[in-house]
Subunit: 348 residues, 3 copies
């Protein structure tokens, strides 16, 4: 298990499109999983290890809705219970593997690695605009990053880095010194800043039709432990819109659904939802290309930081004003982890 | 040294064909060895490290029957004793490297890594049919497997896996539920099963000329710690042969001589001895091709299990009926290892 | 930090030619460094880590003589002090990185990783002939070796290995049994031997014009902890020169300036200074090619020894007569390291 990820939470496992009528391998919170879809279409994920000789079940065969181990044929139903032991009539009572609660939402399969009794599907994140006809959503990639998932979460609670990391796509030097604001609640952090009366950033300059300066915003909505939805956009500065009029501008929700793979790896499943060029699939691809450039810029930095953190486990860090929101994010996650402990802590 | 291999035992070091008048490198039980053949044709193996500066002797030169270190020219005879130190007349008394008892048999060089005083060449395994004119033997490969040698030994005390792992070559689903029988003695385990009145497996269907169903057998003869000889074959089911009439059918001994390289690597030196198509070298190659497919199927599974065992050192395993023979095999090896300890245990 | 390298010493960091008006990465004594040259031409090296989030500063940008971190724009002057924090007016007092004393000499940038107050540039090694018009110097390579730097220093206090390792270039079997002599002082070791009336070695046979046998010499001048200058040459044996007449023969200083990178890596920055063929640049290249062959022969052995030392951390070594000088070298280094401790040891 991962030391800094709460087990009682929903995590993205993989894109729904990747779960088929065949066995595939995934890893979440350090747990190796074999994943497939039942004949009725339900996704299944269970520990990818046969309890007999520890062969990965993913080397076996899908037999109807069950998995037959590729070494000696022990067979496990989708609930993880053994239903056959070749060569002996009696099935040992302990012969089962852990099968995990799953649910599909927003194009992803979500997994609850913790106590199944606490798996409330109502807690899975949803973005209303994803389902709206006034908006268009486009599925992106699964970007693998060699870094702990919380370092990516730091990055996604942090509009300030955009002015330095993403100059060719999402940011501009004009915003370097504009402070960020934030609020935090039990399981959420929102961080934002407005850059008023400024040139359009490269991305909107490309797709918008702005004659002059714009007002632009970034709202980073983090939901613990693994979701960040970045609401950003631009509006003609001459209109001087209020924050609650963002739908009047060009607006994009860039959704990041993070899979903590293990201590030093995570996967950023990203998609975007926008309120312009709804029917133009070319814009999907052109935006995806821009996002790929930008998110790989983050990946480069996060992987280098991971390397330094491994080499300098005792390194101290200086706290800056822009760190307030990421630090609250980490406190929320710590609290969720503590809530997972079996000690008598009051229910959240 | 390897934690789970007895040092007082004969192990295959490499094929005799690989030991020449030049220095080569091998590793057995975690010991790096430099290997060569004397002018008189005797194989030599000694620790591959010069006691002066720890340079591998295999980087040096063969000078008659001695090795001259490639760094400063210290020279060691085939018994490991230093015979020259360039630049100084006196040879330090401690200047020697360990040279190991070796012996050639069945096309392999065998090594005794333990106490030389206990190295009884009478204990080296031999298969009488290998030397008989009624049989034909064909040397196979040295298959490197990234797994502990005892996991391969498990596999070679286990006919049950054949029905699931080797469907294209050695097994068929017809035998999935047929139980296995076994006997065990001080240093041996025999595991077997008969599958009566069943279609010929792919390998015998290819080389035999059976009109109808066959009786087929597998006898797995394990000799601790590193030898498994699999006697398998088929006979026309209409003949209903007794077990002691196996020579009347098509019969193959598939010999596996396992070199434990280190905790997570072993080498399967395999050959086969058969009682049909004695003069047809094409059959050698066609059988080898089939064996290569089959043994690589085992390799794939064993390497995945090794990976899982490293990741889950505390994993529990469920014991099935088919595990009785492998478990006895491991008890025999544990007993051999205990016998190696310097404590006053009665001689074996 | 490296366990067996004194921090209060000058080390070669890299060739001066590699330090430009852009950020580059280097590692010395286990310290990751970002290196560049100021507008005024001064080399700068500082810890390659931003104290905010631990991003390597080498991912950032050079802004005049300062580095702007590539993640959030914290900016550090060439002395390591933070001069800007975007988004907040106040700079935390602790916001600085370590900048190291540097100095250029003999075509290299030298670094003092220890206490800056003790960095005496007068201690940096210099070879008078390097600056003389009667001599010609030619810069070589930066040979990366996967071995601890002291094992390379052993090699460079050890003329005896030449007879066995460098037969095609620098040595010949004729010298195998000729003993070496040495002297040692506080921070130096000199080891030498003369081989009188012997065939010219391949290198001098190629460039000299000797009709008959030569007298040849090797003087290995080691200066702790990381410098070895090998004075070697040949003179017509008929002249029977005295040791102080070496300039009358063909004479080369092969300079090795060793950078300890970490416990298992070092870089040999080598150049040569010669008293013949002063204006013939072809001889530079032909000598370099020969040196490359020879130094790679050392590299091969040292890397194999490093591998063995890792595998056998408790291995004992036999001491030979030729080890007297390397052992004094190591005692000098140990003494330098002890002198770095904060305990009240008398000044050196």
């Amino acid at each position: 298990m991962l030391s800094n990820a709460p087990s009682n939470a929903w995590y993205p496992l993989t894109w729904s499109r990747n779960v088929e009528r065949k066995l595939s391998r995934h890893k979440v919170l350090g747990i190796d999983l074999v994943v497939y879809r039942t004949e009725a279409g339900q996704p299944v994920a269970m520990d990818d290890v046969c309890p007999h000789r520890l062969a990965p079940l993913s080397l076996g065969k899908l037999k109807d809705d069950a998995i037959q181990c590729g070494y000696h044929g022990m067979t496990f139903g989708s609930d993880g219970r053994c239903i056959r032991v070749p060569g002996q009539p009696q099935i040992p009572a302990s012969a089962k593997v852990t099968s995990y609660p799953l649910r599909e939402r927003m194009g992803l399969v979500w997994i609850w690695p913790g106590d199944p009794a606490r798996a409330d599907t109502g807690q899975i994140y949803d973005l209303p605009q994803y389902h709206s006809k006034q908006w268009h959503s486009a599925e992106g990639d699964a970007l693998s990053i060699d870094a702990n998932y919380l370092n990516l979460a730091d990055n996604l609670c942090d509009p300030a880095h955009v002015s330095f990391v993403h100059l060719s796509t999402l940011g501009s030097a004009a915003s370097e010194d504009i402070p960020v604001e934030h609020t935090a609640s039990d399981d959420r952090v929102v961080v934002w800043r407005w850059i008023r009366n400024s040139p359009a950033i490269p991305l909107f300059a490309k797709y918008g039709n702005f004659k002059g300066p714009v007002d632009r915003w970034h709202y980073y909505h983090y939901t613990a432990p693994c979701i960040a939805v970045i609401d950003f956009g631009s509006s003609d500065a001459a209109l001087a819109i209020d924050p609650d009029q963002r739908d009047d501008g060009m607006r994009i929700f860039a959704c990041h659904f993070i899979t903590p793979v293990d201590e030093h790896h995570c996967i950023d499943h990203w998609l975007h939802v926008r309120n312009f060029a709804l029917d133009d699939l070319n814009v999907d691809q052109r935006l995806h290309d821009d996002f790929r450039v930008a998110f790989n810029e983050d990946k480069d930095i996060l992987e280098e930081i991971d390397r330094v953190e491994r080499a300098r486990p005792d390194a101290k860090r200086i706290r800056l004003a822009i760190d307030a929101a990421p630090q609250k994010m980490r406190r929320i996650v710590d609290h969720m982890i503590a809530g997972n402990s079996p000690s008598p802590i009051a229910a959240e």
